[in-house]
């Protein structure tokens, strides 16, 4: 009995320690998610059901937004990882001095507000008076200059490119940190075994940075899915809704079109999509760890 009472007291004490975190999680994470799901089940006339979801299934813009969200995730994670890794490798392996300067320069875009970046890149992309146009004009190719943000076929890619530019520095930084943790002796031993050049990167460095890559991929997915300001400020989701993502479409339906319950349904889709991607990512990571154990 005494042991049981002591155990219960210990449990109660443990719960007491956990309580603040649980309260914060409940109020700021769990409750909004549940409230949002409940809101998504309220129809435009107050009726309860799945009408918002069936409406979304028939909404062409919703499908454009979903497709673009997938594009954002795939392209951002792919390019940010690839460019980040290659640049980090170049800085850490092939640049003998001034590495800190390169790292700082590459990280600088991260501290610029999206509104400034949006304005700068809108001007860079602009035909007639933009920076890129000036370069095309200088070599006599003014007529070949593409209005990338004004063409529904290219606008999303143009905005994604800006996001990749902004976030690459962060990936470089994280990979540099990861490379710093690689045991020098391991690299020397690998070199003795003939792992030099590309083979060293392919069979030694890249596998050793697996946990960094998985973490960056998760961060990249989250960042790509929640990206809003760049798209809103550069294109407002246009032209003709061609750059809408789930994040911008939630804002448009909720705050511009005043269809908050419909926006909640789109938010639930975004939540489910994010959750599925993150779970997939962790599952792949766990499978790889098990395989290498």
């Amino acid at each position: 009995m005494a042991a049981g009472g002591s155990s219960r007291r210990a449990n109660a004490g443990a719960w007491l320690y956990v309580l603040p975190a649980l309260l914060v999680f409940g109020v700021f994470i769990a409750y909004p998610i549940i409230a949002n799901i409940a809101s998504s089940l309220v129809g435009p006339h107050g009726d309860v059901g799945v009408v918002n979801y069936t409406d979304a299934a028939h909404d062409a813009v919703f499908w454009i937004a979903l497709r673009n969200s997938v594009l954002w995730v795939v392209l951002c994670v792919l390019f940010e990882t690839a460019i980040g890794f290659v640049l980090a490798l170049a800085i850490e392996m092939y640049i003998p001095r001034g590495q800190a300067i390169f790292r700082t320069i590459l990280f600088l875009p991260m501290v610029i507000t999206p509104s400034v970046i949006a304005l700068v890149f809108t001007t860079i992309y602009a035909p007639d008076y933009g920076l890129l146009f000036g370069a095309f004009n200088a070599v006599g190719l003014a007529n070949a200059f593409p209005a990338v943000l004004g063409d529904p076929a290219t606008a999303t890619y143009a905005v994604i490119a800006v996001n990749v530019w902004q976030w690459c520095g962060f990936f470089v930084l994280m990979y540099c940190v990861g490379m710093a943790q690689i045991d020098r002796e391991l690299l020397s031993a690998a070199a003795i075994d003939g792992a030099v050049g590309f083979a060293r990167v392919r069979y030694v460095i890249w596998p050793l940075l697996r946990s960094t890559t998985i973490s960056l991929a998760v961060l990249g997915i989250i960042q790509a899915l929640q990206q809003f300001p760049l798209i809103f400020l550069m294109t407002e989701g246009g032209p003709a809704d061609s750059t809408q993502t789930l994040a911008t479409y939630i804002f448009q339906t909720g705050f511009v079109l005043d269809k908050m319950h419909y926006a909640s349904a789109v938010a639930v889709v975004l939540f489910a999509f994010s959750l599925a991607l993150i779970m997939l990512q962790y599952r792949i990571g766990r499978a790889e760890r098990t395989a290498h154990a």
Partner: protein, 447 residues
């Protein structure tokens, strides 16, 4: 390879400075505007996205000077931030006393939380108070009210007219005597302006509001009744006049009247800045452009001597240019928060009156913020002759202006998408207007 252990520390330092820089950027800009007050004044909270902070500060100072027993705490935020804040305030039951409102959808969205202002206005300006506002403003102020509800939930402080502006020196350099009178002249003038090194007609077509305004200016020539019906939410978008207007809109892209890549361009700040810098021949703006006189030291802009206004040229052979087109720039509503105490409500009414017809509006008007919604108000300062001419022309047009707001935001968004699709060449004018019509029919059914 020269990776050292201290790199981790340096990385932390970089990350920390990045976080601090980001945090410092994030906290700027949204503290309430207020001035020092006597003890125990009645505090009135005001939220809006307009007018700009310096104008609002001057308005508040003037009102608080005239009413020492009232303290105004105003928060001016960019419109997207304002929208989100207001929705959150509604959800938490913490709305400010007075909120800035656009006519139509925004006013209707908050109508359940707004006081009826018809009786309030009668108390402030007399039973015949409506004679103080032009008909277009009163129509827009009630836009979207439920059938049979003729009351007002927001009253306008400022009005605006939408039209085309042109750069006089650019026209002269291109060998043009004055603004075009027909669509064909507009196309020809655009070519001459381009040849002279100017952006002929800057359209920030990624800014949907300006697409709608430019399109409605065209449609007012081809189906005036249709425009008014469409603004009220009626499904009229596939009528021949509307499709004709959509074809004219398309021609502005295909005939290179608009600059290349117009669909990627922003009207603000890019277009307005380029126009102010003298790089643009024509731009679709409105009466609020007069604000520039107080924002620039450039003589041609300060006196507006380098700039002129004209209506969208006649699109039909023998037709007339677009008639006056405009309405409420912004207005104010009193929320049910103010009615929680009689003293607060009384103070809120005083502030409303001062915003619209009193010292507050006078301050805004002195900065040529836009046109006064309240008849008879005039700027306090003496203006140069050309500026006076432009200003008086606007005031004259306001009396007969056609409303410029589509009441249903879903239809408005559909029209923006359709117009951009026409510009991108991904839809024909017929298909785009059919899509808008389909949306309008669905909205009619849903409502």
């Amino acid at each position: 390879m020269t990776i050292t252990a201290s790199w981790t520390c340096r990385a932390r330092a970089v990350l920390l400075s990045a976080a601090l820089a980001t945090a410092s950027l994030a906290v700027t800009g949204h503290s309430p505007i207020s001035t020092a007050r006597a003890a125990d004044p009645t505090v009135i909270t005001v939220w809006s996205w307009t007018p700009v902070t310096p104008t609002m500060t001057a308005m508040i100072a003037a009102i608080e000077k005239a009413h020492p027993d009232i303290q105004i705490k105003a928060t001016i935020s960019p419109h997207p931030v304002y929208s989100v804040s207001l929705q959150a305030a509604v959800g938490s039951g913490n709305m400010p006393d007075i909120i800035g409102l656009s006519p139509g959808a925004e006013t209707q969205q908050y109508r359940p939380h707004l006081l009826k202002l018809g009786a309030v206005a009668a108390g402030l300006w007399g039973a015949d108070w409506q004679k103080n506002f032009s008909p277009a403003l009163l129509t827009e102020a009630r836009l979207g009210n439920p059938a049979g509800d003729t009351d007002f939930y927001a009253l306008p402080q400022e009005a605006q007219l939408n039209n085309l502006w042109y750069n006089i020196p650019a026209f002269k350099k291109a060998g043009l005597d004055g603004p075009p009178k027909t669509l064909d002249e507009l196309v020809a003038d655009a070519e001459k302006l381009r040849a002279a090194g100017f952006i002929p007609f800057y359209q920030g077509a990624s800014t949907g509001t300006f697409d709608v305004w430019t399109f409605l200016q065209i449609a007012l020539q081809t189906d005036q009744e249709g425009v008014l019906a469409g603004e009220r939410g009626e499904p009229v978008w596939d009528k021949p006049g509307m499709i004709e207007a959509a074809h004219v809109w398309q021609r502005l892209f295909t005939d290179h009247v608009f600059q290349p890549g117009a669909l990627s361009a922003l009207q603000y700040p890019t277009g307005a800045n380029l126009f102010a810098a003298g790089r643009v021949g024509i731009i679709s703006l409105g009466s609020w452009w007069l604000q520039q006189t107080g924002l620039s030291d450039q003589p041609g802009l300060k006196t507006m001597s380098d700039y002129g206004i004209f209506s969208f040229p006649a699109v039909r052979n023998g037709g007339a240019a677009t008639p006056p087109f405009g309405g409420v720039d912004f207005g104010w509503g009193i929320t049910d928060t103010a009615s929680k105490s009689p003293a607060e409500l009384a103070a809120a009414k005083i502030v409303l009156k001062e915003f619209i017809s009193g010292v507050g509006e006078q301050e805004a008007l002195n900065q040529l913020n836009d046109l006064p919604a309240f008849n008879g108000k005039t700027p306090g300062q003496t203006m140069p002759p050309h500026l006076t001419e432009v200003y008086d022309s606007y005031i004259k047009q306001l009396a007969s202006a056609h409303p410029h707001v589509i009441g249903d935001p879903v239809i408005n968004q559909s029209l923006i998408s359709g117009l951009q699709a026409i510009g991108a060449g991904s839809m024909t004018p017929e298909a785009a207007m059919q899509a808008v019509q389909k949306t309008a029919l669905a909205q009619q059914k849903a409502n």
